[in-house]
Amino acid sequence: MTVATWLLRRLVASVAIIVAVITFVFILVHLAPGKPCLGQDEIVDPAVCARVSTQLGLDRPIAEQYRRYLVALAHGDFGYSYSLRRPVRDALIETIPFTLQLAGAALLLDFLLGLSLGIYQARRANRLPDIILGNLTLFVYSLPTFWLALLLLLLFGEKLAWFPVGGPSDPIFCPVVDSFYCIADRLWHLSLPATTLGLVGAAGTARFQRAAMLAVASQDYIRTARAKGVPERRVVLRHQLRNALLSSITRFGLALPFLLTGAVLIETIFAWPGMGRLAFEAILTRDYLLVTATALIASTLVVTGSLVADLLVGVADPRLRVRAAREPDIVTA
């Protein structure tokens, strides 16, 4: 079994997971109480109900409905949103880039800040800076994201007025991002929501990275490196950090569910027109095709994230490539 086959198997497994998620969502929707043409029998003529059911294909056997659902999804057809009065797909195409911008910026902050803090703390383990930062990251890690968002909004949006309080861009000068000024404007609008989301993640990453660095620090090869006179800086960067980074790469894949969950709240608070806010507004209008579609997209993003993380670990860790060749069922996460 070669590495290529291992990767292929992971890819097939990911597709299978997505299909299973679709099936689960389909079952959940069918288990829910109520019918598309419901309740108010006195008002709606049964003949109309029957016609609507036929029109929507709801009178067909469930297996047939499932098949049609899969075929439609495969064609990128998520149905028609009655609250937005437009195809769900159009709404998704419009909102997903915003969520990706937010999640991407937050992820960048999460790992840049988190890794640096973790490495710094591990270098000064159990000394004053480490203890202070350790308590600080514990505190930030425990904050509810939406509450932190409100406080940052109050401080930097209202009191100090350094950052805009909401929206993706200046509606007058930059309705679409088409100039350098508008890119800067977008980043300026992005800074507060992304910081909120990234800070909480960074605190978690820092704690994780510190533990990973310390776990590696007691390994024999670190002692060997020191004993043969490798400069301290090189020991830390080449020997310790490289090995400690492996577990953080796995964490990278696991960060996506956290970011997407946070996105629902953060986007709602900062009026960021992304998928999370779309999902939330869909709940309020009980537009379940829209909710279902966002759940499916979010799951797909999560699966893709963990696949990418697996690939990265495979690239970074030669031991895993050897093990993958021997034990095909290995999971890294």
Binding site: V264, I283, A295, V302
Partner: protein, 309 residues
């Protein structure tokens, strides 16, 4: 605040402190308890948790007002903290301190019950998968893969949309059913390595039944990761409930939870920050304490991963 509520509050603080002190005293004799209390944050975390649990249980004694009563919507709206209203009043002139105290019941209750359910389920599935291996393991773990791929909040949003609001019990069950996947992976890995150990082989050789082997021999040795994930789980469920309540789809108002207190008062955060800051601080205090206690448990029960002092 009346004299009675002050007394009850003081009593809760003293009881919590005394409880931690007694545990420390007793623990000094045992190596694993000493390790548990090695970090000062663990003692603080434990004390805070005991205190908040006492407050939740004795809510009627400690809260001076009915948490849902609107005292005076005209004159006592967004009243700043004072001796009568220890933490001020909210936008509907309800006493924030009383609501926070009663909110502890709901929030901690959901956190504890949801996490209990999630951890039991995760442990059971993980133990079965890890012990039986082969196709049982394959089927269960593929299921867990799917569960991990579903972002919880979207599934819960979907459930809420489809079932049109969930009562308390259903919310706990929904949270419990969607939160066990991580635990089951942890437990499975632990059980897989434990089942090959000599004492398990010996038990099997003596003819012990599978259920007995799993529950008496294997799982007690996997206690550390299970307890740690339970402690972290309570915090996660608490945060999740707060997020759902904040979005207005958790516990129905007017019953207070820390999440919907933040949601109710977020619009007036600029003029009356106390009514939003207090429940938020309460949530982070609990989650922080749980994290600290989880660290302590890790240290106490799993000396293998002890970091160099």
């Amino acid at each position: 605040m009346t004299l009675g509520t002050w007394l009850a509050l003081a009593l809760a603080v003293v009881l919590a402190a005394e409880c931690v002190r007694a545990l420390r005293q007793r623990g000094l004799r045992q190596e694993r308890w000493r390790r548990f209390f090695r970090h000062r944050t663990t003692s603080w975390g434990l004390g805070i948790l005991v205190f908040l649990a006492l407050v939740a249980v004795a809510a009627p004694l400690i809260a001076p007002f009915d948490p849902n009563r609107q005292l005076d919507i005209v004159y006592l709206k967004n009243h700043p903290p004072s001796w009568t209203f220890l933490l001020g009043t909210d936008v509907l002139s309800r006493d924030v301190w009383s609501r926070a105290v009663y909110g502890a019941r709901v929030s901690l209750g959901i956190g504890a019950l949801g996490a209990l359910m999630a951890v039991s389920l995760g442990t059971l599935v993980g133990a079965i998968a890890g012990y039986y291996q082969r196709w049982v393991d394959a089927v269960l773990m593929r299921g867990v893969d799917v569960g991990l791929a579903l972002p919880r909040i979207f599934i819960l949003l979907m459930a809420v949309a489809l079932w049109d609001g969930l009562p308390f019990a259903a919310l706990v069950i929904a949270i419990g059913l969607t939160s066990w996947f991580g635990t089951s992976r942890l437990v499975r890995a632990e059980v897989m390595s434990l089942r090959e150990q000599d004492f398990v082989v010996a038990a099997r050789a003596l003819g012990a039944q599978t259920g007995r082997i799993i529950f008496r021999h294997v799982l007690p040795n996997a206690a550390a990761p299970i307890i740690v994930s339970a402690a972290l789980g309570v915090g996660n469920v608490l945060l999740l409930e707060a997020s759902l309540s904040f979005l207005g789809i958790g516990i129905k108002p007017p019953d207070p939870t820390w999440g919907n207190m933040i949601a109710d008062n977020a619009p007036s955060i600029y003029t009356a920050p106390w009514s939003t800051v207090v429940p938020g601080l309460a949530i982070s205090l609990v989650v922080m304490s749980l994290n600290a206690v989880a660290d302590g448990v890790q240290d106490a029960l799993d000396p293998r991963e002890r970091e160099p002092a």
